[in-house]
């Protein structure tokens, strides 16, 4: 059996993460290329929205990731707070910038989709506003952590903010049901059959999987930077080939 606790130490996690990154990036690139091919060459023109609907192949995956990353970030923050484990708190910090980037992309691609279809770049409705609040939560988390000099205290303060903010995730997800909004309902849900052609769904899921793999790779790359920054006094860091040379 694998001893998972072994990998909760930065010393053993650092080389493992390093080995995984290039594989994850390669796989994400291949899946994204196939996904884009399916989305732009195989998926048919939409009956209502013409070719403009093809933004969906970016908009839905980045929006899913913006919410999913926040939940994972809050999870690691909670583990770090409960067990006082260094690596969990570092994982939470490593996820935040990627989450903020996907949230920005969700708003950006949404605006570019909203303009031709709704006639406006932005409306203050429930779905769009709660997604904007998500961006502020990510930025608040990063600003709070960088404002505190002592890393362990920064971890704790950030964790509390991340956990309080998690309440926004169900609000984003259910906003299209709870309120009257311009935004359409969920394209894919677990309770009913998807409301789109299978080939469109395939393209979207491929892109979502690519975005997920990309996120894991980016978070691992960033957590390795954080480990180096925080543990550069440690003996094992001095022994690394990339430091010794």
């Amino acid at each position: 059996m694998i001893n998972w606790f072994k990998f909760s130490s930065p010393k053993t996690f650092y080389p493992l993460a390093g080995k995984l990154i290039s594989w994850l990036v390669a796989l994400a690139t291949v899946l994204a290329l196939i996904g884009m091919y399916v989305g732009f060459f195989m998926a048919p023109t939409d009956a209502q929205q013409g070719e403009g609907y093809r933004i969906i192949f970016l908009h839905v995956p980045v929006s899913w990731m913006s919410m999913f990353i926040y939940v994972v970030m809050a999870f690691w923050a909670a583990i770090g707070l409960a067990f006082n484990s260094r690596l969990s708190a570092m994982m939470a910090s490593a996820l935040a910038p990627t989450g903020a980037m996907f949230t920005f992309l969700s708003l950006w691609t949404g605006a570019l989709w909203g303009k031709p279809m709704w006639g406006t770049w932005w409306v203050w409705d429930a779905r769009l506003t709660s997604e904007l609040i998500l961006l502020f939560l990510y930025m608040g988390f990063m600003a709070l952590q960088s404002a505190i000099d002592e890393p362990r205290r920064a971890d704790k303060a950030g964790a509390v903010l991340a956990l309080v903010g998690v309440v926004n995730i169900p609000i984003i997800y259910f906003s299209v049901q709870w309120w009257n909004t311009l935004h359409q309902g969920a394209s894919v849900s677990l309770t009913r059959a998807p409301s789109m052609a299978t080939i469109m769904l395939v393209g979207m899921l491929l892109m979502a999987l690519a975005a997920w793999l990309y996120t894991v790779a980016a978070a691992l790359a960033r957590v390795r930077c954080i480990i180096l920054e925080r543990e550069r006094h440690a003996g094992w860091v001095n022994q690394l080939n990339e430091v010794k040379q």
Binding site: F41, L58, L228
Partner: protein, 64 residues
């Protein structure tokens, strides 16, 4: 196949600005993140290397 020529493909049925605006900004954001990560890693490695040099110098001074 949806497109008969490259012009069609780039026009996206009149939605070219919106579709390619989304694709371009997404690609730029992803590339920018990797560049920033690389910069951060190089800076962190440089700090760790300097620390190691200082450690070695210190141990040389104390032993000689």
């Amino acid at each position: 196949m949806n497109w008969t020529n490259p012009g069609d493909f780039f026009a996206m049925g009149g939605y070219g600005l919106y579709v390619w605006g989304s694709v371009l900004v997404t690609a730029v954001a992803l590339c920018a993140e990797w560049l920033l990560l690389r910069k951060r890693r190089n800076a962190a490695l440089l700090h760790a290397k300097r620390e190691l040099i200082l450690k070695k110098e210190y141990s040389n001074e104390t032993t000689t």
